[in-house]
């Protein structure tokens, strides 16, 4: 039981140094890593170490996600004495033998290494370093199931500082001074939000952590919860102290079983040590945290919908005011912050607001975690200072577009964000610059598109998502989005004209202007931004009935030209047998039967198939 700050400091000091072993091997055991096959790698490493009797030389540590989606399963080897490290990617179980035999952070023949630009958190000096890790500081570095590893890395130091030396107001002032803005998407100043709830005179107040990450392709919050759950618990406790709440609720989607498990372990361990529960660190402050599981409704990321869901009601938003800070969970003052927002708090308290403000831009201090996905060469989880350019992220970290294709667009802000084209790549991204470009920060999804993507179809894809995830409460979102989707479908099917485009734009603006919650107010963004940035594609669909990217199947046809040598490869690959022709004679496609899958187009080695 740690019932004083002194005892916490003593424990942290006693944990100094990771281990006596010469070599630490960090194995990325996030959900994604496990899915990519890390578990057999871990087993192979353990049995190899055991077989060679090297238990004292090697310390194998199961960590959360390192963010290296493009190289999973990934492991990091650290030489304890020199601090030198090397990250290996795409590791196979059979590599374990070589890694153990190497006993050093050095290249190994036949095993991929991961470039320095991507991931060397403690390599502060690296000049070409794009990432800066505050939120992901411990993710991929410590075992999230061991509280001592968190404590050894300054864990709970901020809580100790708050509970023994700061008033509630000082904590709020520090967060206000840091300029931290909500990382869930809206970008509302976190400290100011807290101050509203703190000003409420109420016996009961609640701190909620929004862990209902729902954007397609987004996994920032999951990585934090799986890799560093204590940072969120510590932050919620600090926030609870600041606003006068004794109860915390983490609303987490049930589809995150590993994150749930690690949170449960973390809560248990923190309670055992007295860092959560009654009389924390002997300060007299009580705070408990419970988990509530969401059923995977995107709209439950909206704070009023989330609160209703916790209350056992239908997860749908209600009009604000009253704001949750005044009347939230069980009608008590409630603060809802996102996982990533919380994960910033301990570092801000430890290092001070001034330190935090030096990172990022003036109006958006700090870093942002992005889930970089799509047609980019290296997909993964990155954390960069605000103000980093899209180009640095996509081409620096992501290594550009895969398969040598042309960059076409990047979508930020999830399904409610906007698509930006190549001329915006130099934009230094923060909350305000993205809004100015008609997109938004959102929670940190970043999807890269290439020349094979049809932007009308992309808009349709995102709208399909919001339409599906709309709660259906307000008219513009329920019916308006349906009509938008129908119009987009008509455009993709070549059944639309200029009037459709006009109606599409008008209705998009009206939905933004009238919808009840953030979901509806932003759902037309993908349409408006693609219409603004890729107008020619819309016109091509409407005027020429053409889809240059070859995605809208109703607008394309495949025909065989006279370069055909009669090799029959197209006919043999056609899934519907619609290609006929004798050997060494020009083949032909039965247009009636063709499903426009494009397999023949890609299979032909003689450029004998035209896509019109």
């Amino acid at each position: 039981m740690i019932d004083s700050i002194d005892k916490l400091n003593q424990l942290a000091a006693s944990l100094n140094g990771r281990s006596a072993a010469d070599i630490c091997v960090l194995v990325s055991m996030g959900t994604c890593g496990i899915a990519a096959g890390t578990t057999p790698v871990l087993d192979a490493l353990k049995s190899e170490v055991a077989a060679k009797g090297l238990e004292k030389t090697f310390n194998i540590i199961e960590t959360g996600c390192m963010g290296l989606c493009h190289s999973e399963p990934s492991i990091e080897v650290i030489e304890t004495k020199t601090g030198k490290s090397m990250v290996y990617g795409n590791v196979k179980p059979e590599d374990a033998e070589h890694i153990v035999a190497r006993k050093a952070a050095k290249p190994i023949a036949g095993v991929d290494t991961v470039e320095k630009t991507w991931y060397y958190p403690e390599d502060e000096a690296a000049s070409d370093k794009i990432q800066a890790r505050i939120v992901l500081k411990n993710s991929g570095r410590i075992n999230p199931e061991k509280i001592n590893e968190y404590i050894a890395n300054s864990g709970y130091e901020a809580l100790g500082k708050v509970l023994t030396g700061m008033s509630s107001q000082e904590v709020i002032d520090e967060i206000i001074a840091s300029g931290l803005r909500g990382r869930g998407g809206g970008g509302f100043p976190t400290g100011r939000k807290w101050s509203f709830a703190a000003a409420q005179d109420s016996e009961e107040k609640y701190m909620i952590c929004n862990a209902d990450e729902g954007d397609p392709g987004a996994f920032m919050d999951r990585a934090v919860l799986e890799g560093d759950p204590h940072s969120v618990l510590e932050a919620m406790t600090i926030a609870g102290f600041a606003i006068g709440a004794k109860h915390g609720v983490i609303y987490i989607r049930a589809e995150y079983p590993l994150a749930i498990k690690r949170l449960q372990i973390a809560i248990e361990q923190a309670e055992e040590l007295g860092l959560l529960g009654k009389n924390i660190l002997g300060s007299g402050f009580d705070f408990k945290i419970e988990l509530k599981y969401g059923a995977g409704a995107f709209v439950c990321g909206e704070e009023t919908a989330l609160i209703h869901s916790i209350e056992g009601m239908r997860g749908e938003p209600t009009f604000k005011p009253p704001f949750p800070a005044v009347s939230g969970l069980w009608k008590k003052p409630t603060i809802v912050n996102n996982v990533e927002t919380y994960a910033n708090i301990p570092a801000i308290i430890r290092n001070g607001a001034d330190w935090f403000k030096k990172i990022g831009t003036e109006n958006s201090p700090g870093t942002k975690v992005f889930a970089l996905a799509g047609k980019v060469d290296k997909v993964g989880l990155v954390e960069v200072p605000m103000g980093t350019t899209l180009k640095d992220i996509i081409f620096g970290l992501g290594n550009g577009i895969c398969d040598g294709k042309e960059f076409k667009a990047v979508q930020t802000g999830g399904p409610s964000g906007g698509c930006l084209k190549a001329d915006k790549l130099e934009t230094k991204i923060d909350y305000d610059s993205l809004i100015a470009l008609g997109s938004m920060m959102g929670s940190g999804g970043m999807i890269v598109m290439d020349e094979d993507d049809c932007m009308v179809n992309i808009a349709k894809f995102f709208l399909e998502f919001t339409l599906d995830e709309s709660c259906g409460k307000c008219t513009p979102c329920r019916i308006g989005n349906k009509r938008l989707h129908e119009m987009l479908t008509d455009i993709c099917n070549g059944k639309a004209d200029h009037v459709t485009l006009r109606k599409l734009k008008d209705l998009s603006h009206t939905i933004k202007d009238t919808a009840l919650c953030g979901l509806g107010q932003t759902s037309p963004n993908p349409i408006l931004s693609t219409m603004a940035n890729f107008e020619n594609e819309y016109l091509a669909h409407v005027e020429d009935k053409k889809c240059d990217a070859g995605v809208c199947t109703n607008l394309i046809s495949y025909e065989i030209n006279d370069k055909c040598v009669g090799c029959t490869i197209c006919a043999r690959n056609c899934p519907v047998d619609c290609i006929s022709g004798e050997r060494k004679e020009i083949h032909r496609i039965d247009q009636e039967k063709c499903i426009k899958c494009g397999i023949c187009f890609h299979a032909c080695k003689f450029h004998a198939i035209d896509r019109n």
């Binding site: 409704a297 709209v299 239908r314 749908e316 209600t318 009009f319 005011p321 339409l467 599906d468 995830e469 709309s470 709660c471 259906g472 409460k473 307000c474 008219t475 513009p476 979102c477 329920r478 019916i479 308006g480 989005n481 349906k482 009509r483 129908e486 109606k503 008008d506 209705l507 009206t510 933004k512 202007d513 009238t514 919808a515 009840l516 107010q521």
Partner: protein, 578 residues
């Protein structure tokens, strides 16, 4: 107080007011659809879901829904900018794009707020068209029709069902375009704990929730020469039916009602008020018996079928508390098919009993198995006040011009005590009038128990009845009933008698009454009309009704007799709570 400007006009309103309230004070009616307010019950439903009422507020990024945006100091509101007008029209356009265009044959034709809005906003063609929702119509129960194809997701029915009535059957189901209001798992209503109170029907601004119609069976019966067709009219019908024909709310139209029914072709026109007097005889006997024995108190009234089904589902452990007396409708049916049928020498199966009720649950009640004898129901057909008005219109009967006439005998004579059953508090007052006389053995003159009158949801009164301090409570609206019952369960009360009506305000606000929309002053006028009708009656105590006295003398012997129990009492069934 808050000062703001609406359309350049300064407005001062009380704290907590919305833009909609503020605009109303300067006679600007911002169009609404999902908004519902019944001031006399302190009820305001503002889900902010339809977005019809959007207005422009200076320095606000998007448009504000007037119905739920609080008025703020210094706010500058413009209700008719082109941005607001276009948005409003687009919302209506969208709603209509997913709404059947069958207004001419819709049950709510002429009574539909969506229809009115389309007319007010002058919308002549739809810009946005596309797929329309397709749902099976729920016709399985006797009282309510749910046609979700017409649902506009205003959620008013949910507020009525969950917040006002605390029945908890209706809620949002599904997501996005498929979102709609219905019972959990979209079960049909008759498989739920729905009480059929019909307050959802009252709340529905469109034709998504309507009453089951039995007009045609009535026409058939009237045209069947083999049937003797008698009709009973519930107390609250006479003070509301005139509204359907343009009469002032609060008009007492008893005489015209009787004439109209005769003109429709009913063989005998009787009054449920007669049966209400009979109910008082049985219920008061039971009440006095329980008070004397000091057991099973409080006694709860049992006239209201919505309330009966409510406690069967939600408070099965209190099932011994309600009086075993049948409701007036069912007492009437039972007496008509025994005493009266014998009297006129007609077989019960050849006698058709039709009820005109302010209520939808009465349709369900008449179908309950215990209310039939050898397969012959005591009450054959139940139609609502609205349905009767429809029939009169179809028959071309000019209601307002009709001469007045009297009910037939012997089931038409009634007292003022029977009339007041139509208002919340009336049953209790009627019972107290009889109890006081019986206990004192006198004919008391001071019989206006005004403390129990009024539309408030819960009323409490201690009334001295023959030296006994009777602690009484009256609740209307099932949410209020729940509050009282929970108090009883916690042992916090010592009531002797409680009157409970499912609908807020009592039967005068029943699910089958002419629609009042958002004008709750109509309900107040109906209430006043009921008490005026009571005051007009020469006899105002049930036990002094000469035909009731005769009925006991000739047939039932005395209140609580064996035969009375057979014909006039019932039992209750605990039902599933979900």
């Amino acid at each position: 107080m808050i000062n703001l400007k609406i359309n350049n006009t300064p407005v001062t309103v009380e704290d907590g007011s919305t833009i909609l309230h503020a605009a109303a004070t300067i006679d600007i009616k911002i169009p609404t659809l999902c908004h519902m307010a019944l001031d006399c019950f302190n009820l305001e439903h503002r889900s902010g879901s339809c977005r019809i009422c959007v207005v422009e507020v200076e320095n606000r990024r998007n448009l504000a829904p007037a119905c739920c945006t609080p008025a703020e100091e210094g706010m500058v509101v413009k209700t008719n900018t082109i941005r607001a007008i276009n948005a409003r029209r687009t919302m209506l356009d969208l709603l209509l794009s997913d709404h059947p265009k069958e207004c001419l044959t819709c049950e709510k034709n002429g009574n539909c707020q969506l229809q009115d809005l389309a007319s007010d906003l002058d919308l002549h063609h739809l810009l946005y068209t596309g797929e329309e929702s397709k749902y099976e119509i729920d016709l399985a129960n006797k009282a309510i029709v749910r046609d979700l194809n017409k649902c506009i997701m205003c959620r008013r029915c949910e507020t009525a069902c969950n917040e006002v009535q605390t029945v908890g059957v209706l809620s949002g189901v599904g997501r996005g375009f498929e979102a709609v209001v219905g019972p959990a798992a979209m079960k049909p209503l008759d498989e739920t704990k729905c009480t059929f109170c019909g307050q959802c029907v009252v709340a529905c601004p469109v034709g998504a929730l309507t009453a089951q119609s039995y007009k045609y069976p009535v026409w058939l019966a009237l045209n069947n020469p083999k049937k003797t067709v008698v009709v009973q009219t519930a107390p609250a019908v006479r003070v509301a039916i005139g509204e359907e024909f343009g009469m002032e709310p609060g008009s007492v139209a008893t005489g015209k009602l009787v004439t109209a029914l005769r003109m429709l072709g009913f063989d005998q026109v009787f009054d449920t008020d007669f049966a209400a007097d009979l109910t008082i005889m049985e219920e008061t006997t039971e009440f006095i018996d329980r008070v004397k024995k000091g057991e099973n108190l409080p006694i709860l009234t049992s006239c209201c079928p919505g309330w009966v089904k409510f406690f069967e589902h939600q408070f099965p452990e209190l099932i011994y508390m309600p009086s075993t007396a049948k409701s007036p409708q069912q007492m009437f049916g039972a007496i008509a098919k025994s005493y009266y049928a014998e009297k006129i020498n007609v077989k019960p199966e050849d006698l058709t009993v039709v009820s005109i009720m302010p209520c939808l649950a009465k349709k369900y009640e008449a179908s309950r198995e215990e209310f039939s004898n050898n397969g012959v129901p005591d009450v054959d057909i139940v139609i609502s006040t609205r349905e009767l008005a429809d029939m009169l219109k179809e028959a071309g009967i000019k209601f307002t011009d009709l001469q007045e006439s009297e009910y037939d005998s012997p089931l038409g004579e009634s007292t003022g005590a029977g009339v007041i059953f139509g208002s919340s508090g009336g049953v209790l007052e009627a019972a107290l009038r009889t109890a006081a006389d019986w206990l004192t053995g006198e004919d008391l003159k001071d019989i206006d128990f005004t403390a129990v009158r009024g539309l408030e949801g819960i009323k409490e009164a201690t009334v001295n009845v023959a030296g006994i301090e009777v602690k009484a409570a009256i609740s209307s609206g099932l949410g209020n009933a729940r509050k009282l019952l929970e108090k009883i369960q916690r042992g916090e009360t010592e009531y002797h008698i409680i009157e409970i009506m499912a609908c807020p305000g009592g039967c005068l606000n029943g699910g089958g009454q002419p629609y009042v929309r958002n004008d709750s002053s109509i309900l107040e006028k109906r209430k006043q009309a009921i008490y005026a009708a009571d005051a007009d009656k020469p006899i105002r105590k049930s036990h002094q009704n000469p035909d009731i006295i005769k009925l006991y003398d000739e047939y039932l012997e005395k209140p609580g007799s064996h035969r009375a129990h057979e014909l006039l009492h019932t039992s209750y069934t605990p039902r599933e709570s979900n």
